[in-house]
Amino acid sequence: MLSDTLWSLRAGDRCQILDYDEALAEKYRVRLMEFGFHPGEVVTCLHSPSFGAPKVYRVSNTIFSLDDEVATHVRVRLWSPDG
């Protein structure tokens, strides 16, 4: 099991959200939770564009784009169906 951040995912990677780090402002944390990025949720990275552009993630049936200012503060564990 590898612990990492949402930002470190490459296209096609799946992960399970562990928690948010302390540096993430409360209001950002609230918004992420509302969008479905809550601990335990499985997230798939759909696109990881070049030059540090925001990455595209799927959570539940919705697609979001997050930049590194937010995604680096979301701690995740790479996920595989067999656990």
Binding site: F35, G36, S50, V56, N61, T62, F64, S65, V70
Partner: protein, 611 residues
């Protein structure tokens, strides 16, 4: 009068449903956060029922000042005894996100004894992919009616009307309070479970979206398509709107030709010809540009592409304190600041929107072009370099355009790093909506509304200022000599201000009148120098300036001054309207004037070292 509240998450189709129910034209777009104001209208089917459309919000737990205002208004509206129902619109294709918000709404309504009707929108999209939503079971679980509908096609809307009709004039029992004390964390878990139990199964919708995203967000194909789409947008403002703008001018010209000769009194004739028709023309000429740009931007928003464009531009613009969503307003500003400022409405972060407002007036708009053309023709040699490949005048034009854009980015970069945070910022967490085929009617209606808003709101101010400046230029000598008019007098007063740039009172007058519109600078100089039709044919004016003793440094200083100064009454009026802050616009006007003046002075002094 009975009232019904309509509330929903951004991008749930709320404005489209509001339009369908009321026949009014609210802005409709497939881009999160598009509803800015509270809309009110009467239901077409039940004219004695008022529908109140609240701004789209992701949650009742606000994280920005703007969201807090929306939530506060909603809470206050729930205390209104006339409110019979709260319609909570959800997106059936993305149920979990919608349901968390819905549960918050139901909880708040239970606290206020108001009934909720959940409207599950986009049922047509589910139908077309053979997906289903178990509305009856969801309704039972929520203890609230759940009605599937399509705001786009109108399917299911009749059922909503029937439900509302049933509740009219009947004393309604308060809803069953089953969520009153439930904390947000539990609601989140409940939303997750309900979505999985009753929502559409499978991921066919997401897969379709992902396939298109693979093309539009790909490093190569995404870049090419972005460039082509932005080129199309730019062309639409510059080229496609031009014939309509010419037509507006032509019609006004013919109308003036027909009306003015019928007026006997000289003063009334001059007022009608120059102030009245000039004042109307000053704002009416922008209408085609605003209409075309709003239509194209609406097309991009409705189709879902706008969010992708924001994603593509985000990283480079973030260096300057902006967001990817700032790109389209700024690009629009290269044609004209007015539609650009309107386009900035789509930026959800108040702080980023403010920074974008600051950048737009520095984009090299088309009204600057005649000024640049005159000054470059007068002061930059017409020769070429690199074997004839590069012309000096073309290079100067490119340079001054680039200079304006660079100034815009530097200003926002500086302000974002130094200013106190008076406006809330929001994280770049952008929902990428599904791709959809936009409907023509809402797009046209929206473009028409935006153009009408411009005419009724900003047009009055532009017209008033135009008439005022005409008044100053006409009296006390009844238009016989601009130099000895009150405006000329003002030119002499401001002469000491522009003297350090090597400019005399005549240029001072031209700078004053160019506040109406920058291109007026050329016509005013022509009038002062006694050259007829200088705005149509600049050659005699260019020759006159070249034969005068004006220094090259003064010409370059004027170029820089016009690249920066906020010399446009229309832009000032619209900025004040859209930002709802006169003090902000006053600060921008003064700040950009000082910046323009300092830069022009530096250029003049620098040029003096080389001459």
């Amino acid at each position: 009068m009975d009232k019904v509240i309509l509330i929903g998450s951004p991008n749930s189709g709320k404005s489209l449903l509001f339009n369908r129910l009321t026949g009014l034209a609210q802005k409709v777009a497939n881009f999160p956060g598009i509803t800015v104001d509270v809309g009110v209208g009467r239901l077409q089917a039940l004219p004695d029922v008022e529908l109140i459309d609240f701004p789209g919000t992701y949650s009742l737990q606000a994280i920005s000042a703007e969201e807090a205002v929306a939530v506060e208004h909603f809470e206050r509206a729930l205390e209104d005894p006339d409110v019979r129902y709260v319609l909570c619109l959800i997106d059936s294709t993305r149920l979990e996100k919608s349901l968390y918000f819905t549960l918050q709404v139901i909880r708040d309504c239970e606290r206020h004894g108001k009934r909720v009707m959940v409207l599950a929108n986009m049922i047509d999209v589910l139908d077309s992919h053979r997906l289903t939503l178990d509305a009856a079971a969801l309704s039972a679980a929520l203890h609230t009616p759940v009605l599937p509908l399509s705001a786009r096609s109108g399917k299911g809307v009749d059922a909503v009307i029937r439900e509302l009709e049933k509740s009219r004039g009947v004393a309604m029992a308060p809803p069953r309070a089953h969520l009153v004390d439930t904390p947000d964390e539990l609601l989140r878990g409940t939303a997750h479970q309900l979505a999985h139990r009753f929502g559409p199964k499978g991921d066919v919708l997401v897969r379709t979206q992902t396939r298109l995203d693979r093309f539009f967000l790909h490093s190569f194909t995404g870049g090419i398509s972005f460039f082509l789409i932005m080129y199309l947008l730019f062309q639409s403002i510059f080229t496609w709107a031009a014939p309509a703008m010419d037509a507006v001018e032509w019609v006004l010209g013919r109308a003036a030709d027909a009306v003015v000769p019928l007026i006997g009194n000289q003063l009334a004739r001059d007022f009608t010809a120059d102030a009245l028709f000039g004042g109307i023309g000053a704002f009416l000429v922008f209408v085609p540009q605003i209409f075309v740009l709003t239509f194209i931007i609406g097309l991009l928003e409705d189709s879902g592409y706008m969010a992708r464009a924001a994603l593509i531009c985000h990283k480079p613009l973030r260096l300057f304190g902006l967001t990817g969503k700032s790109f389209i307003p700024m690009l629009s500003g290269v044609a004209c600041a007015i539609p650009g400022i309107y386009a900035a409405r789509a930026i959800d972060s108040p702080r980023k929107r403010l920074l974008t407002y600051m950048a737009i007036p520095l984009m090299p708009c088309s009204a600057r072009l005649p000024v640049y053309t005159l000054l470059i023709a007068a002061f930059i040699p017409s020769g070429t370099t690199l074997g004839g490949l590069v012309g000096w005048q073309g290079l100067a034009m490119f340079g001054i355009y680039f200079f304006g854009m660079l100034c815009g980015l530097l200003v926002t970069g500086l302000v974002s790093r130094t200013s106190e945070d008076h406006y809330t910022d929001l994280p770049f967490v952008l929902e990428l909506p599904p791709y959809r085929l936009p409907g023509l009617q809402p797009l046209l209606r929206n473009a028409w509304n935006r153009a009408r808003h411009f005419v009724t709101k900003a047009g009055r101010i532009i017209f008033a200022v135009t008439v005022f400046v005409w008044f100053l230029g006409y009296f006390p000598n009844y238009g016989t000599d601009l130099g000895s008019s009150w405006l000329g007098y003002l030119g002499h007063i401001v002469e000491p201000l522009f003297a350090p740039l090597g400019l005399d009172w005549r240029y001072g007058v031209a700078i004053l009148t160019s506040f109406l519109a920058r291109e007026v600078f050329v016509g005013t100089l022509g009038t002062i120098f006694g050259i007829e039709g200088a705005d149509e044919n600049m050659v005699p004016l260019v020759e006159h300036i070249q034969s005068s003793d004006m220094a090259v440094g003064s010409g370059l200083a004027l170029l820089v001054f016009f690249a920066i100064a906020l010399q446009c009454v229309s832009t000032v009026a619209i900025l004040a309207r859209e930002s709802e802050s006169n003090s902000l616009v006053a600060k921008m006007f003064i700040g950009y004037f000082l910046f323009a003046y300092a830069a022009a002075l530096a250029v003049y002094q620098l040029a003096g070292l080389f001459s």
